[in-house]
Symmetry: D3
Subunit: 288 residues, 6 copies
């Protein structure tokens, strides 16, 4: 019983997302194939099986998809979000009305594959830098409408979350600086107007900008598109006074060298906007 | 003025999707950074620029994102969905209130990058088989809630759409066949119960199953996970009597050999569930 | 246990429709009469009784209406959707909190009467042509917002469904033909752009148009406003090559002669847009 | 400029109803036929024409349907809700993008036909009793979700509205009386608990019940299922002290004799729950 | 078992209001503090305790708030809406998952404090005039979106409800009279167009206006901003022919003198728009 | 043109809130009085006038309310949110359709009065401590569903916002501490699990607890229910290392002494949960 366990997704949000996805897939006419081909009372046993190795996320959505169509379906989980899976591993046993199971299958797998893809991508890069203190964090480059779930998948994969939106932190980026008339004026405005419960991070592209930023009582700097050498120098310059975060199209390949520079965080857009789906299948095992 | 131009996304759906995405990013407190750092009446000129080559999709969502925050923002498009873009190419000019432009930026780019990623992936595989008659079609393996937009992106990339959901076509898959007691009984049930405006496609894994299926007046067969050799034989067996569609983790690499077998369609889940984001940036150019 | 049993309406849609209807009837102040007149803890037994003969549809909505106000109400059904009912027949027994039962009564009966009216109208015309092979199908002339339920009621009455909307089939009508520049160009455009899972039907008003249409590989023809003689000739001309469907203000009286011409389908707008309500009452039988 | 002109339907409600109806008809894939068959930029002129005589209602919904798909469509009305129409009469001229016009056609006509059917039914029975003082009023037997529009259609046809729901008036019916232990106790409870802005009507089936009811300061009595003779006696008994309303499966045929008894109101469920659709067509006239 | 017990708030409305309030408080990131600080499986016992004396309202919303986050939380009520509470009194015992209890605490208390504030304000003024026949009624001056709950709180405090909105009664106010051209024309228009189930009340500011109004068969008069002397004269003039209601910034201090004039109702905006919150706390008592 | 001007409320949220409030007030039957009493085409000029002194907030909602019913109504503002108003001051001129103006009046005034009440309460307490550095901030004790608007009103009155919800900051309160096993363990858990963009504040009730908390790198302390003497000592102990915030039923009377202790912030629940409405009226001035 520890506080750092991955918190569960809120029921109301899970059910709402599943409701939308099922409506999208079933339309008004419903599942024509199951209605035409499967006998009405037919029952089925099925399993959700991993087809490749990775890290799982989204099991609450899987269960909710089946239960939305028929609350009497038995859904037995053999893993939790954040677990590593290997090819062939059975994650979930499902038993109940055949029509409802096959009608919910694609929605369940779409959520599971998408979110496990994100968790797996995160885990791969977390693992790649595991001998450094740096932590991988995600960005606001998420799929519109699914941010709450994708942020969860990042945590399942061992990453941490940055801001959830524009509303829960200040991040002064290059465009803000340009319009505000420089890093100094931008930070001064932020310090003057930010609430006392709001952290301020400033994007800097050069060591010179970094020094300008460090002249103010800010909380963090985003070291954007710097080389490992520049990052090392930046870390030295910062000297622990503020949180340091590296960013800029970080990949699995470039991450270790970045982590080796001693930055506190590496933010990676790729894990949410470009992670390939993790492959799962629903295998019919027998009728009841 | 031709009928086959890419139909526009429906306004109501575009506005609804943008509304949800902006609410997700702005929350209740709104864009803290812009409110604190940018002067209230500041204006800005900015451009959306492609950072890599690909095929664009989602420009209606881009425009809608800016207009949702401020209808007075000028959005001038220099390309249409389906256009090829090269690195550095300017797609959109934006001019108006600086706060609104920066507040909508991420939502606009998230839609554009995600959908252009799908269009680009589609286009790459369409191009790879362009000397064959086969057409690339997408599947129901889409991101929950975004199917209407992802199907559009596939069309923008030169692909065609398969079913939109479970409601607009019958596709008898292996699990249906297993529960129904074989391909014959499954097809017979489908023929007996399908509406007269509904097409019937049957998944077959072997030539033997194919022959069983062809004994019935069905519309199409899904040749699943067959080798090019098996596909060639299948195409010969079918002899134009029904539409032929190949499927099974088709990649950019395997597609040409599959297309060479003479199948009519190749369905590819990858273009919607695993296409990496296409990279775009919003560059501030000047104040007004 | 057969596949052709009437599929159940999806729970989520039933609950949503009932929620909207109850909100419409209860407003903010609620059921003033029951609150003022009925003792708070009073219980009641009641029955839903058919006041005339017909075919029932909508029982899931009836049950959902009572349960939405009080999940503890006992609702016992003595019939299923699609059953024939005679005057005085008890369809449902209801027992529970008197206030909730009387507050939900009208919503329950409005759904039941409306949908049973459609089922009964359908059944009457299905019966009238029962010695012919033709099947009765419905149109898109449905009550806005209730199409999913009205299509279900048509099936309950023994009819079949045509398209559910503009999205699940192509039907080239006279206005399309006029704008496209003739039947030939219209069909050619459709064949060029239709997805491979989409059927194409073409409306024709004359035998000449029919012959033009049959020159193309279409799936069905809509023989609009033809006399039985013309229909007979059309059926001969078609000779089984495509599905034939007769339409044009078909009534109970004109249907048999149309069916006798050998057409496959007769589409009837009347059963959804003009069927009179079937009369049911809720009779109070006793307090608990 | 008079106060008694038919008030307009509220914009927000009209747009919401049209949005739901269009979503129902267009789904995710949209209007497949128009997209495939009609050239993208094609324009069209069309007219909505009455195919039979009646009273029109719902023109705001018609205009909103076209404008929801394309605000640039010109919609010119030649009549207002409540107007009498004759066969062949042109009600609306429409000019604009051909695809949008044909895509919105069915939704526009479904609203217009349904509501004009109700207005026409109302008008027919209003006309039938026009030489009596009695007014026709509607009931809560409306189509779920459309009550606001159907009540409007009744007014368009010359009728008046009864309660809009359970929340805006007390009507003590037979089931309430039975559970409350008689007409006296029921009325006493109502008088004790009703708000001072709420009217109280009591259903009575016999003259004896009527006399019991008249002993209390109620506002109206509902004379249910009485013969004309009984009604005449009831009217005499009431002697103008309360409003009198006759009800009970009133038809066009039975209404005049009921009106002749001198009752103030005749409530008719039939005009909302069973009125046949009024037939309108959309005729293509030319391209621009 | 009596009819006049305070009717329960409708489940659907309670759950909807709680869903909105929890979404507002939890956002996408959820309760950061509980997730970080409380061990995942920790359980807690807590009590909701009154910190001051007053009248309670909103307990259904309290229970719904906890159950929305975790249906397994035990919520035991020791009071009902309408009950008087004294400082230190325990209203509710709560036992279950610690995280869910603390996450729902503020939403539960916000509803409870706000509605109990209204109930308490109402009760105080009801008590102040309890030796007169006049009853306290509320107005449409309610918090947008919460009217159904605030009207309930007024009833919990012993008050009665006036109109719920513009839709369930006619109240001719000074602005109506001015535009209509006087009290006479305004009332004549109302009598001509009001439905037979709609009551008519007329605001009058002087005895002269009152006499004009009494010349018509209206149901009630609103005596606005009159002194007690004027009110006494008005009551005499009315002589029981219509309901009399006094209004105009009535306070706890001025109410008794107004009630002493013999008016039937005193309407008070203050109890809904300006009642201070009643203070409650959630006290942690122990872990399970 | 300064960055610290009060940011405007987002259009989408304003329109949504107004839509809900108007639906609540108009129901299905609409404004019965205006429809019956006011001539259809009548126009009116009206003014919104302050009836007492205070600080205004909510003018965007006022304008939106009138425009939702009729976009052609002219709404001219003579003040902005945050402005001081005196009795009799005209804030808004309104000109247009009389029916729409009177139908929207109450919704407009309810928002304006409620939010101006909050702004005025805030301003009064801000003024009371204006010779100290302390700033007034609000809490999460807001009206459910209206937090975004009430937080805005606090800013209009010169206050600042604390957390918007549970999701944008960590605040460890007494119940968290109790369940976590003390202030030390609670803070350690928070530091271990909080995101790097999340601030941490800790509630302490005694100087001893304060010292425990200051041993950790937290951002702020909430000094709860301390006397001015204790607060002075606390401020000395803190010595500028973290932000200090005083709380605990602060009133207009107690605020100055608290501010004099040198705390950075004083959080006040009263301004949002118990501020009385500020009185405004809509005065009809003439017809056009």
């Amino acid at each position: 019983m520890t506080a750092n366990a991955l918190p569960r997704l809120p029921r109301a949000r899970v059910e709402e997302a599943v409701r939308i996805a099922l409506a999208e897939d079933l339309g008004d006419a419903g599942d024509l194939t199951s209605a035409a081909v499967l006998p009405e009372g037919a029952r089925a046993c099925a399993q959700i099986v991993a087809r490749e190795a990775g890290c799982v996320a989204g099991l609450d959505l899987v269960a909710a998809a089946f239960h939305a169509l028929d609350p009497a379906i038995d859904v037995t989980r053999h893993a939790s979000d954040g677990a590593a899976v290997s090819p062939g591993q059975i994650l979930v046993d499902i038993e109940g009305a055949a029509r409802a199971i096959l009608s919910a299958e694609r929605v369940a797998l779409n959520f599971l594959g998408h979110l496990s893809g994100i968790a797996s991508a995160t885990q791969s890069i977390v693992t790649a830098i595991s001998n450094h203190k740096a932590r991988i964090c995600c960005t606001r480059k998420t799929t519109p409408g699914l941010r709450i779930f994708e942020k969860h998948a990042v945590r399942a994969g061992g990453g941490v979350n940055h801001r959830f939106g524009l509303y829960d932190g200040i991040l002064i980026k290059d465009n803000h600086t340009a319009i505000a008339g420089g890093i100094g004026p931008a930070i001064e405005a932020a310090l003057a107007h930010a609430g006392h419960m709001v952290k301020i991070e400033v994007e800097v592209d050069t060591l010179d900008q970094l020094k300008q930023a460090l002249a103010y009582p800010i909380d963090a700097v985003l070291l954007d598109n710097m080389t490992p050498d520049q990052l090392s120098q930046a870390v030295k310059t910062i000297d622990g006074r503020v949180v340091s975060e590296a960013s800029g199209r970080v990949t699995l390949k470039t991450a270790p060298a970045i982590a080796a520079t001693g930055v506190d965080f590496i933010s990676v857009g790729w894990v949410t906007h470009s992670a390939p789906c993790l492959d799962f299948g629903l295998d019919y095992t027998s009728d009841d």
